[in-house]
Symmetry: C2
Subunit: 433 residues, 2 copies
C-alpha cells in the first residue's frame, strides 16, 4: 500500500489535536519516527485514527469491484479532503477526483491533481473566475462541472467568452427528480440545458449526463431499489436523446451516478444497458475508503442482500476510522462520560462503542466492548454513554468508537493518524476543509 502521508510538508506541534502538548514543531512526514503508540498513552485523546490495514483492504476491494464491473470511479474527495488519500485513490486506478466546491478544487489542484469533476453548478463570479483561471494557467487541467439551468449555462458561456480559453468548458447536464436536490426535474428541461451548452458556439461542450441517486429512499429496500432503477432509466433516456440530437462534444461522453450507497445498482443498471460501450460509466462514491459503523454499514448490509457474492469478496468493506476517547467521569452507575463530542465525530448518527482498553494494566490489546454500552447523546465536547451496571469501564479507561458517517468526521480533524494493527502511529494525513 501507498505510504500515506509521507510526502506532506505540513508542520504539527503540541497545539495540534492529537499531538502531545509538549511537542515542538515537526514535519508531518516524520511522525512515524516518533514511535508513538495510542495504547501506551503517548497521545492525548480524543484521537481519530485510520487503521492502515483496513484502508488498504477497502481500497483494494473497490479496485477489484471496478475491474470486474468495467466502471470507472472519481471518488468524491469532499469526504476526506485529504490530498494524501486522493493520491492513494488515484494510484489504485481512480479516473479522477470529484469535488463539491471551488475551494475543494483548488486544494486538489495545489496538490497536483489534474482531472476533476465538480459535482455542482458553478455559480458566482469568484467561483467562475477561479475555475477559468486554473484552466487558462494549465492546458493539462481536465475539468468538468454540472449544470441544471439555462441561466447558469448562459452565465458560463459569457464567462468563457471573456476568458478566451483555447478549449471549451466541459459540462455534464444534471437530471434530478421532483422533491430532490439539484438537477432538472424532467428530461425535457435537461435537454434544453444540453442544447444551450451545445449551441454555445464552442465555448462550452456537453461532456455527458449526471445524476445523484443517493438521497432516494423507499419505505422498503426493494422499493428503494425500484426508485433508484427508475431514476437511472430516465438518465439513460436523457443520455440517448442527447446522443440522438448530436449534442455531445468531442470525446467519449460520461454517464455518471453512484454515491456511496447504491453504486452496485448503478453498475447493474447502466452496465446492462447497450449504451454502456458508448460511454465512460463514472461512479463517485467517496465513503468506501474508510467505510463506517452506521449509515454505510447498513447500506452495505443492503448491498449484501442485493448481491451476496459481491459483498462476500474478501469479507466486504471494513470500518477503518475510529475515534478513541477516555472515560472521564462515571458519576452514576448507569452512565459514563467519554471525552469526545460533536467537535470530534459526526452526529447524524450517534457513534458506536466498539472496543475498550485499560492502560498500564494487564490487558495486552483492546477488547470488544461488552453488550450494554450505548451512546445516548453527544454534546460539543462530551459523549454520554449508557452502560450496564456491571460495566468494567472506569475513569481513565480508553474506548474506541465507530462513526457514521465519515464525511462529517473527517472535517473535525485537521490531522488524522494512521496506525498499524498495534495502534502505533505509522503516518498521518492532513485535511483541507
Amino acid at each position: 500500500m501507498v505510504n500515506i502521508g509521507s510526502c506532506s510538508v505540513v508542520m504539527l506541534d503540541g497545539a495540534t489535536k492529537g499531538i502531545p502538548a509538549e511537542t515542538a514543531p515537526f514535519l508531518i512526514g516524520e511522525i512515524g519516527q516518533k514511535g508513538w503508540n495510542l495504547l501506551a498513552e503517548d497521545l492525548p485523546l480524543p484521537l481519530a485514527v485510520l487503521r492502515q490495514d483496513d484502508i488498504a483492504h477497502n481500497s483494494r476491494w473497490m479496485r477489484d469491484f471496478l475491474h470486474a464491473s468495467g466502471a470507472q470511479i472519481a471518488p468524491h474527495g469532499k469526504t476526506t479532503m485529504s490530498p494524501d488519500l486522493f493520491n492513494l485513490q488515484i494510484e489504485d486506478g481512480a479516473w479522477g477526483i470529484t469535488l463539491a466546491t471551488v475551494q475543494q478544487v483548488k486544494v486538489a489542484r495545489k496538490y497536483g491533481h489534474r482531472r476533476i469533476l465538480l459535482a455542482n453548478q458553478l455559480v458566482g463570479r469568484a467561483a467562475i473566475d477561479g475555475i477559468f483561471g486554473e484552466l487558462k494557467a494549465d492546458p493539462a487541467f481536465e475539468f468538468f462541472c454540472i449544470a441544471d439551468s439555462v441561466a447558469n449555462v448562459r452565465a458560463l458561456a459569457r464567462a468563457a467568452a471573456e476568458w478566451h480559453l483555447s478549449r471549451p468548458l466541459r459540462i455534464l447536464v444534471e437530471l434530478g427528480y421532483p422533491g430532490g436536490r439539484t438537477g432538472c426535474r424532467t428530461i425535457e428541461e435537461a435537454l434544453r440545458v444540453a442544447q444551450e451548452i451545445a449551441g454555445s458556439g464552442g465555448r462550452l461542450s456537453l461532456a455527458g449526463v449526471e445524476a445523484f441517486e443517493g438521497l432516494l429512499r423507499g419505505t422498503t429496500a426493494s422499493e428503494t431499489r425500484e426508485l433508484v432503477e427508475a431514476f437511472l432509466a430516465r438518465l439513460l433516456d436523457l443520455a440517448a436523446q442527447c446522443d440522438a440530437a448530436g449534442l455531445y462534444g468531442s470525446g467519449r461522453p460520461i454517464l455518471s451516478a453512484g454515491g456511496s450507497a447504491y453504486y452496485d445498482i448503478v453498475v447493474d443498471k447502466l452496465q446492462r444497458h447497450a449504451l454502456n460501450s458508448r460511454y465512460t460509466l463514472l461512479l463517485r462514491s467517496g465513503c468506501y475508503l474508510t467505510h463506517d459503523s452506521g449509515m454505510y454499514r447498513r447500506a452495505f448490509e443492503q448491498l449484501r442482500t442485493r448481491n451476496p457474492a459481491l459483498a462476500a469478496w474478501s469479507g466486504g468493506l471494513r470500518p477503518a476510522l475510529e475515534i478513541w476517547a477516555y472515560i472521564q467521569s462515571r458519576a452514576e452507575p448507569s452512565k459514563a462520560i467519554a471525552n469526545f463530542g460533536k467537535r470530534d465525530a459526526s452526529h447524524d448518527d450517534l457513534p458506536v462503542a466498539i472496543k475498550w482498553f485499560r492502560p498500564g494494566g494487564s490487558m495486552s490489546q483492546p477488547e470488544r466492548i461488552p453488550c450494554g454500552h450505548r451512546v445516548i447523546q453527544l454534546n460539543d465536547q462530551h459523549c454520554h454513554l449508557e452502560i450496564a451496571a456491571d460495566s468494567p469501564l472506569a475513569v481513565g479507561d480508553m474506548v474506541a468508537f465507530g462513526i457514521s458517517h465519515p464525511c462529517l468526521t473527517f472535517d473535525k480533524w485537521r490531522t488524522l493518524y494512521v496506525v498499524d494493527e498495534n495502534y502505533t502511529v505509522v503516518s498521518a494525513v492532513c485535511t483541507y476543509f
Copy 2:
C-alpha cells in the same frame, strides 16, 4: 474596538475557504488591504462573516452586565477557538479563558494566555503531562481544572508528585445532578473529592466549586428556572461545607457556573447569597460574543421574560455571525438549493434565511428576505430551501443565513471574515480546532 486579527501571522491563499482561488499566499493581517467586498462578488461563497459592529456591541453588552453584577467571566473559548477573539474578550475585562481540552489549552498558551480554567476532568497520561509541563515551564501560568472523582484526584496527586512542581495544582470540585453529565451527584460525594484534594499534602489545592447548569430543561420556562435555582442552591451548600471544613487552599475561592443560557439566573442566585463576598463568582458563557439566530436567540427571549430591564440594555445581544451562500439551483417552483451545508454551518438547529442580495443589479444593499423562505434540510454541501411560489430568488442570488449555534459553526471554518456594515472585509480571524 480591538482591531480583530491584526496581529496574526497566518498565511492564507486560494485553497483557503472563502479566498478567491487565484490568490497567492498572503498574511492574514493584510486582508483588510485587499478591499474585498462580499456583495461585489469578490469572494467565493459560502462565506462565514463576523459583523464587526455587532461583535463590538455584544462584547460591550457583556462587559456592562458584568460590571453591574460584580461577577467575573472566563468565556468558554471552545466556542470560537480563536485567539484573536480571546484577546478581545480579555481586553474587555475577562478574568481568563475557559477551555474544554488540553489541546485547546495549548492553543491559548501558544498565543500568550496566562489564566485558564479547564472545565473538564484532566484524564490520561498525555493530557496530565501536557498540563504539568506547561506549569513547570512557566511560573506565571495560572491553571485550574475540575474533578468529580477520588480516583481522578489520586491520579493527579501522583502526577504532581512526579513533576515536583513548586506550586499545587488548583482544582475545583464539580457538582452534577442525577441524569446529568459530569459532576458528583451528591454533596457528600463532592465533599469526599474535596477532602481528597485538601488532603494531598500540598500537591493539589481546592480552588473552589463548579457546576454546569446549561443542560437543565424543565417543561416550562418557570420550571427550568426552578431546576436551575435548586441546582445552584446545592452548589452554594457545597461551597459552604467546603469552607466550614477548611478545605480551600490559599486565595479567594471560586464559585463557577453559568453557560450561555442562564447566566442571569446564576448571577441573581449566587449574588443574592451572603457567600458572594467570600468568593470570586465566575461565569463561563462562550456564545454571547456572536450570539445566534436560533438556540441563543430563544434563550435570550427567555432572559427577556425573566429580566426585561437587563435584556433591554442597548437593545440586547445581536446575531453577529452570518453564512452567505449562492442560490445554485431552482429546479422546482417551491424549492431552491443554496451552496452551503453541514460542512459550513451547525445543524443542531437548521439555519435561518435572513437577507438576500442580487449582485450586479439595482440593489444597493441586502434586503430582508420575504416571508415564506425556510430551510428544510441540510446535506453536507447543500441547503434545501422551501420557498414561496412568488419568491424573488434566482440562480446566482446571494442569501445570508443566521446560524444556531455558534460553537458548531466556528469549527467549520479555519478563517472567518470580519466585515463592516457594507460587507467589506476589514480583517479576519483564525480558528484552531
